[in-house]
C-alpha cells in the first residue's frame, strides 16, 4: 500500500483532523506520504514528519493561496499518477470534500465518504461507513486504484511519532478552468478558545436556552471546563449563534471526549453530528427528549438553574 494523505492548513497550522488521518494511515502500514498545498506553507512540512509521514510533498504557489478546491485537484492528480499512490485519504472539510470528489472524477477512482474507520481486512482496505442516520454501519471497499477515502471529521486523534520527513517540492500546473473561480473575500470568525473540531470538551446550546442572551450560560461553563461552544441548527437558523459552531447533519460532526448538551432535544439531525463523543451529558426539561436515549448521563431539569451551578462547582474544583 502506498498512501498519500492530504494535509489541510488553516491560519498557519495543520488542521488537527488531517494529522489524525495521517496517524491512522501510518498505523495501517505501507509507505505513507503527505501532501501540503498552499502558498507559504513550506514551514508546516516538519509537522507532517512528526506525525509519521516519511515524505512530504509541498506544492507552494501563489495561485494556491486561497482555499479553493479545483487547483488542488490539478496538483493532486499529477502527484498521484506520477507517484504511483494506490490510496489517497482526506479528513472531511468543506474544502477537502470538494477536492476528493474532483479527484475521483479526474482519475476515475472510487470515493467512499463519511468513513469513521479504515481497516485492513483479509488483505484489503475496508472503510466503515455509518448510513441512514448512523443506524447501519456499512463495510465499503474499492475496486479501483487509487482508492479515495474521505474520513468523517473528529474521527482520528493525531499521534506524534517524532519522526522527520523528507520534503519534496512539487511543480504546480493548472487547468484553465481550475483557476476560473476566484476568492474575493474571506471573513473568518475568530472565536475565543478552541474551535469545536479541536476541542476535547464541548458545551452545546439549543432552543431550550430560551433566547440568544442565555448562550452566556453555555459560554461560562465552556470557559470553566476549557472547552468550546457549539450550537444546534435551530438556534443558528434563528440567528442566536454563528454557523461555524453548528453541529449536526448540516453542520459539523464532532467527537470530543465530553459533550454537554444544554436544552437540546437531540433529534437525529443533531445526533449524527455528535454521537461519536466519548461521554454525553444532557440537560433538558422535557423528560421525553430523544437525547435521553443516548446520553450517558441525562438530567431532567431546568438548565437555567443547573448550568450556572455546575459552572461554579467546576470553577471551585479547578481553583482547589
Amino acid at each position: 500500500m502506498k498512501t498519500l494523505v492530504f494535509l489541510e492548513d488553516h491560519g498557519g497550522a495543520l488542521q488537527k483532523d488531517s494529522l489524525g488521518v495521517l496517524s491512522r494511515a501510518v498505523s495501517l502500514g505501507g509507505e505513507v506520504e503527505a501532501v501540503l498545498i498552499g502558498s507559504g506553507v513550506d514551514g508546516l512540512a516538519a509537522d507532517a514528519g512528526r506525525f509519521g509521514a516519511a515524505r512530504v510533498h509541498v506544492a507552494d504557489h501563489e495561485r494556491l493561496g486561497s482555499p479553493l478546491p479545483q487547483p488542488r485537484v490539478d496538483v493532486l492528480a499529477k502527484l498521484v499518477r506520477d507517484g504511483g499512490f494506490d490510496t489517497v485519504v482526506f479528513a472531511a472539510t468543506v474544502l477537502s470534500a470538494d477536492i476528493a470528489a474532483g479527484l475521483a472524477a479526474r482519475l476515475d477512482a472510487g470515493l467512499n465518504w463519511d468513513l469513521t474507520d479504515l481497516v485492513e481486512h483479509d488483505g484489503r482496505l475496508v472503510g466503515k461507513r455509518p448510513a441512514l442516520g448512523d443506524s447501519v454501519y456499512v463495510d465499503v471497499g474499492w475496486s479501483s486504484s487509487p482508492r479515495i477515502a474521505l474520513i468523517r471529521s473528529g474521527t482520528f486523534e493525531p499521534i506524534e511519532s517524532g519522526g522527520s520527513a523528507e520534503v519534496v517540492k512539487v511543480e504546480s500546473e493548472f487547468e484553465e478552468f481550475s483557476l476560473a473561480a476566484t476568492m474575493l473575500e474571506q471573513a473568518h470568525e475568530d472565536s475565543e478558545g478552541p474551535s469545536i473540531e479541536d476541542a476535547d470538551i464541548i458545551v452545546a446550546g439549543g432552543r431550550g436556552l430560551g433566547g440568544p442572551e442565555n448562550f452566556a450560560l453555555v459560554e461560562e461553563l465552556a470557559k470553566a471546563l476549557g472547552g468550546a461552544v457549539a450550537a444546534t441548527r435551530a438556534v443558528v437558523d434563528a440567528g442566536w449563534y454563528p454557523y461555524s459552531t453548528q453541529v449536526g447533519q448540516t453542520g459539523k460532526t464532532v467527537a470530543p471526549k465530553l459533550y454537554i448538551a444544554c436544552g437540546i432535544s437531540g433529534a437525529i439531525q443533531h445526533k449524527v453530528g455528535m454521537q461519536g463523543s466519548g461521554l454525553i451529558v444532557a440537560i433538558n426539561k422535557d423528560p421525553n427528549a430523544p437525547i435521553f436515549e443516548y446520553a450517558d448521563l441525562g438530567v431532567v431539569g431546568d438548565l437555567h438553574e443547573i448550568v450556572p451551578k455546575l459552572t461554579e462547582l467546576v470553577r471551585a474544583r479547578k481553583a482547589a
Binding site: 454501519y137 474499492w142 470538551i201 451551578k309
Partner: protein
C-alpha cells in the same frame, strides 16, 4: 440564461429507510419524493430566472421512471421541463459512475449554470457537484448561502468551518447551494395543475452516448461488502433534578475522569 438543476429522487422522508441485505443497496421500492435539499436549488434557479426576466430552468435527474412524478413538484414550483435519465444499466452507480451520467446529460443541455442542492437526504452524499464540475471542466462554488449574478459571472457567499468566503466565477459554472440560501415557495394550485403538461423527457444511456460498462455497477469503483449494527453505547443514566443535579454531573465527570 439556461439553468439546469440536478435533482435526486429519494425515498419519502416519512418512509422507514432500510438497506436491502441481498443487494446491500438502499431499498427504493417504497414511495419516493424530490430530495428536500434540491428544492432549495430549484427555488434559487427560479429566483435567478425571475430576476433576469427570461431564461429556462431544466430539472436533470437520474432514477427510475416513476421519479418523473416526484420531479413534477419542481415543475409545479415553476421549472420549465424535466430530463430524466432512466435506464436499468445505470442502477447501482456510485459517485464516479453517477457523475459520468449527469455530466453527459448536462453536456447535452449545455446550460449556463448548473445548480445542486446541499446533500442527498438518503445517502447524505454532499460531494457529487465537485465530480460533475471536474468532468464538465467548469468552475465550482459549493456551500453557497447567497448567490448573485452579474454580467456573465456568478458570485457566491459560502459557509465554511471558519466563517464565510465570497467566491466569484465566470459562467458557465457549477454551484451547490446550502439549504440556508432561501425559503422555497409552495407550488400554487395553478402550478400543480399545469405541471403535468410541461415537457418531461426520459432518456436512455444510449441517447447520452454512454456504454453500459461505463456506468451502473460495472462502471463503479466502490463496493459494499457487508452491513452491520452500529457500535453499542454504554448504559445510559437519567436523573431528575432535585436541586443537586449540578453536583451529580460534577461527580459523574470526575468519576469518568474527563475533568
Amino acid at each position: 440564461m439556461k439553468i439546469a438543476v440536478c435533482a435526486k429522487y429519494v425515498p419519502d422522508a416519512a418512509a422507514h429507510l432500510r438497506l436491502d441485505p441481498e443487494t446491500k443497496r438502499l431499498d427504493r421500492s417504497g414511495e419516493g419524493a424530490l430530495n428536500q435539499f434540491d428544492v432549495n436549488a430549484v427555488e434559487e434557479a427560479l429566483r435567478l430566472k425571475e430576476a433576469g426576466g427570461d431564461g429556462e430552468v431544466v430539472i436533470v435527474s437520474l432514477g427510475p421512471e416513476r421519479a418523473l412524478e416526484a420531479m413534477r413538484k419542481a415543475l409545479a414550483m415553476g421549472a420549465d421541463r424535466v430530463v430524466l435519465v432512466s435506464d436499468e444499466g445505470a442502477e447501482g452507480s456510485d459517485l464516479v459512475a453517477t457523475s459520468r451520467i449527469l455530466a453527459a446529460a448536462l453536456e447535452r443541455e449545455s446550460p449556463d449554470l448548473v445548480l445542486f442542492g446541499q446533500q442527498a437526504s438518503d445517502s447524505d452524499g454532499a460531494v457529487l457537484w465537485a465530480a460533475v464540475a471536474d468532468r464538465l471542466r467548469r468552475p465550482l462554488i459549493s456551500q453557497v448561502a447567497e448567490l448573485s449574478r452579474e454580467d456573465g459571472r456568478v458570485r457566491g457567499k459560502r459557509q465554511t468551518e471558519y466563517g464565510y468566503d465570497v467566491i466569484e466565477a465566470p459562467l458557465p459554472a457549477v454551484i451547490a447551494v446550502s439549504d440556508a440560501i432561501n425559503e422555497p415557495r409552495y407550488p400554487s394550485l395553478k402550478g400543480i395543475m399545469g405541471a403535468k403538461k410541461k415537457p418531461q423527457e426520459t432518456v436512455s444511456l444510449g441517447v447520452l452516448g454512454l456504454e453500459a460498462g461505463a456506468v451502473g455497477e460495472a462502471g463503479s469503483a466502490t463496493q459494499v461488502y457487508a452491513l452491520g449494527d452500529p457500535p453499542p453505547r454504554g448504559e445510559t443514566r437519567k436523573i431528575e433534578d432535585d436541586g443537586t443535579a449540578a453536583n451529580a454531573i460534577l461527580e459523574f465527570l470526575l468519576e469518568k475522569r474527563v475533568i
